[in-house]
Amino acid sequence: MKSRFWIILSSVFAAAMIAFGIWGDQERMAKDAVMIQAENQYQQSFHELTYYVDSLEKSLGMSLAMHTRETMRPQLVETWRLSTLAHGAANQLPLTLLPFNKTNEFLSHVGAFSYKTGVKATNDRPLSDKEYASLQKLYRESMGIRQGLRDIQENVMARHLRWMDVEWALKTKKQNQDNQVIDGLKQVDGQATSYTQSFSPENPSNAALKKKSLKKLEGPVMNKKEAASALKKWMNLTDARTSKISETGKGSNMDAYEVTLQNKDRIPIEASVTRKGGHVIWFFADRPVGKEKISLYEAANRAGAFLKKHGLTGMELTKKERYDRTAIFTYVLKRNNIRIYPASLRLKVTLDNGEVIAFDETDYLFNKYDQIPMTPKLSAKAVMKQLNPKLVVQESHLVVFQNPLLQNVLCYEFFATRGQDTYRVLLNAENGDQEKVELLRN
């Protein structure tokens, strides 16, 4: 009796063990399959990256041998295409937290340069000395990067290194220890640095996030208390309580205080105030918005009154948008009847009682827009010849536009229609180049 019980129990146990074993093995196989697939994807991206950088170097080298822009153009377009592909491949690698960034930056410079000189430029003159020097520099740099990537590739293949391990190393604390792939990439990165630093003045697109620190502010430097009271006065909330105030750290482009105000109605108002001058950079409060009572038109009037009250005059309302029960208005500075797009500010107004619940003047405060010739070289009529004859121009203005290279250019802005579609076309008022075409949402 007893032994029979034991036989049954042990056979059940054995069966369970076998089933568990089979299940576990299947799980492991499934997991391996997923791991291998992920690893293969990384491998593919990396090999693609090396291939594209290889071709990029060749392409840059070939363009150096050509003289007129017309003959060079196909090669520059090819370079542009390759830089985009390489950039895409590089961004699929698990490298966010590595200083591999600089290589990406290099690729983006190649892209910007080849686009500007090969795709966008409409004239046929040969490259200027400066442009040629840039091209040479890019070529030299590409050789270094290609070599570095090839070295890593060799290493990865010879030692069967896996990208999944890189990811693990990044996830755990070990990334500063020995990891062949990471070390190799750091080396490549070191090579790119020198280039990037010297490239900046001509092609300053790596300043994208620094642009806002350009303009000098007026007024005295304030301490926390002064800044908080300046804010309260500006907001007309003199009896609000400062529940938090802190200084921005050294990574910030602008020295500011971050303030949280606690009002009676218990909705916190977050704001940022510059240390110099106590200017309010932005503020916002996230409060529930009640039933809609006022129109967009009325809301725009409230926004206009708010600006007037705060001495922000000479602005033109250029964009009105509704999101649910709030409206967002964009104002642009107008000087000599020219819209200055880099100097813009935004307001958010509720449609229940017309209160301004958010405000942002980062661009207006910090963006530089002086030192632009404010008289066009070409007439609107001359520039308009560049437009497609099928477009019907409805409105035109003179504007200052900040292009992707962060240069301010004087442009003619045309609002034109074709059938039911509305386009905004910006044509350079100095040389007629097309700066931007936008299909506006209807």
Binding site: Q92, D286, R322
Partner: protein
């Protein structure tokens, strides 16, 4: 302009328009000035009336976009009004006089999601193409509290972009105060603008190792309205981080590298840095 119209004159005009053959429908324009960017019933009436007299050829959808704007300006020009592209009292009166508006027809078709036009002089039954399949009951077309709720999108962004960002923000920062959620949204946008990162929103979000919510699958939780609002605020220009590219939670961050980044500020639980 509107000030010089006495209530008496206004009333007389209302009576006059009531007498006109309007299929029994008296003008429903509210007193508000209708301006570009507006949406709702007034815009529907405006578009329908402009279409009736041939100025507006686009879709009657209750959104005052550029198509409506140019049509209204055309109308103002032809009728000797001040060309400002917004429908104030005078413009509305002229428009009501010059056109017809069959509210029942227009609203019925809008609700049913039919494709339709409202040109004057064409029999109404020839202007409707019924929507095949299930009747349209999507949020965009349903009447709520007498208004059409409409999802407007910022220029240059698709609905998919915004939904994806809302997912990421919710997965990353749902426990954070509102400003912290705007900040996370802003970091995503700052990365798109930075040459060192991918150039579009999906690639930035799915870049391997970039966001923990992607790695651990929390990005697929359903985001709430707060996360969506935060995303829209960031897209519309609010950046509480002053241009940050990274952020981390100092309590759980294991990477030594992230601590070496120049810090900007702490918002909620996250430290934002360059």
């Amino acid at each position: 302009m509107r000030k010089c119209l006495t209530p008496g004159v206004l009333a007389a005009m209302l009576v006059l328009t009531g007498i006109l053959p309007n299929d029994g429908w008296v003008t429903a324009f509210s007193d508000q000035v209708i301006t570009q960017g507006e949406s709702g019933d007034d815009v529907i009436e405006l578009q329908a009336r402009l279409q009736y007299i041939g100025f507006f050829k686009g879709k009657i959808d209750g959104r005052f976009g550029y198509g409506t704007y140019w049509a209204l300006r055309d109308f103002q020009q032809k009728y000797g009004l001040n060309v400002d592209g917004q429908a104030g009292d005078l413009t509305k009166q002229k428009l009501v006089k010059a056109s017809n508006f069959d509210a029942a027809f227009v609203h019925q078709n809008l609700e049913a999601g039919n494709e339709f036009t409202y040109f004057g002089g064409v029999p109404l039954d020839q202007q409707v193409r019924k929507k095949t399949g299930t009747p349209n009951a999507t949020k965009e077309n349903r009447v709520s509290q007498g208004r059409y709720t409409m999802d407007n999108l910022p220029q240059g962004y698709s609905k998919a972009d915004i939904n994806l960002m809302a997912n990421a923000v919710y997965g990353e920062a749902r426990g954070e105060p509102y400003i912290g959620q705007v900040a996370v949204s802003a970091v995503i946008l700052n990365r798109v603008a930075d040459p060192r990162f991918p150039k579009n929103i999906p690639d930035v979000i799915f870049q391997p190792g970039a966001f923990t919510a992607v790695s651990d699958g929390q990005i697929w939780l359903t985001p709430n309205e707060t996360a969506k609002r935060a995303v829209l605020d960031a897209i519309n220009g609010w950046d509480p981080t002053h241009g940050a590219l990274y952020y981390f939670n100092p309590e759980t961050a294991t990477s030594a590298w992230i601590w070496s980044r120049p810090q900007i500020e702490k918002i909620g639980k996250h430290i934002f840095c360059k």
